[in-house]
Amino acid sequence: MSGLSEALQFPAAGTRTKALPSRTRVDHKNSDEAALVKRVQARDEMAFREIVDRYQAKVFSIIYGILRNHNDAEDIAQQVFAKIYFSIRNFDFRSSLLTWIYKITVNECYDYLRKKRVRKLVYESDFSVEDAQRLESSEPAVDPSAPIDRRIAQHDLVIKLLSKVSEEDRTLILLKEVEGHSVEELAAMTGLNENTIKVKLFRTRQKLLKAAQRLGRIRGIAKVNSGQ
């Protein structure tokens, strides 16, 4: 991967990349990745295969991070790439391809969760034994000493909170906190100004806090907000 993708590679989970120079702007229209996208737009199957090969692990990880179920993750990852195939002609190069794919992926997860909720199979209690074991053995961001039930409940809570904000806000906060991108990187990826990114992140954090307050789930929030 070169050009845009080199500049915007997702860092490994839990690591934070060194910030790009301030005000970095990437020309999304004139890069190797843009050339690849144009080939897919012209229905070049080899180019599409390259996109699948390049992003399948990333897409799968994003979905698995949200759903924590291997079978569902596989199914939704297939759907994400089918969607990419059918809608890539609408890709306008205003953001990086990664950002666009990330947005589609997160939206597909939430569509899936919404449909599931409609079918009255709410988020929780959907972990297979295997997935629960996997969750227990590999979740660095939460307290590993917490019992599995509590960690599943926390996972359900954060998914529920994120459903209370817009698609754009959700994508941005996930790119920041889950993928570990800096504000500068987010500006380069989305084509937005750094200050706009900061304002959007702040507003999203506040919305999430308010949603958590309504659910009464984050310690100290009620006290904090009562002082506002």
């Binding site: 994003i62 809608s87 954090r205 999430l208």
Partner: protein
Amino acid sequence: MHREVRDHLEDILAGGHASDSGLAGNGHLNGCAECTGQIAAMREQQRLLQSLRAPEEAEPRAGFYARVIERIESQGAASIWSLFFDSPVGRGLAMASMVLALSVGVYLVSSEHGAEAPAGQVMSVPNPGPNSGEMLTGSPDRDAVLVNLVTYREQ
């Protein structure tokens, strides 16, 4: 949350020390319980969000590309409809077509009713009388009329 903290929020949450963000000078965070409380809540929220990070080894099973292509092919037939429903232009076009079809339907129904009205008037013409039936069923004068026509031709 006060502006002094809000302007440096991302740096603070990213683990930067207050002094990196020029906050130590005014000691705002140390003296403001509201900002300190909000920062603590946002840190907890951040920790929750980071729990969505997947383990490194999460990958689809082998043969993933083939399954993607299979799905694309199965959805290909339906994709002609997605042209209408996925794009705003398509949705507009579909809506306009429905409105047009509805208008044509209403017009046809109303014009049909309009066409039935004169027929009703013809039907409501008063009965010409008992002798009128003779014209239809074969009257005694019928033969005479035919004879007249024949003779007229011969002349």
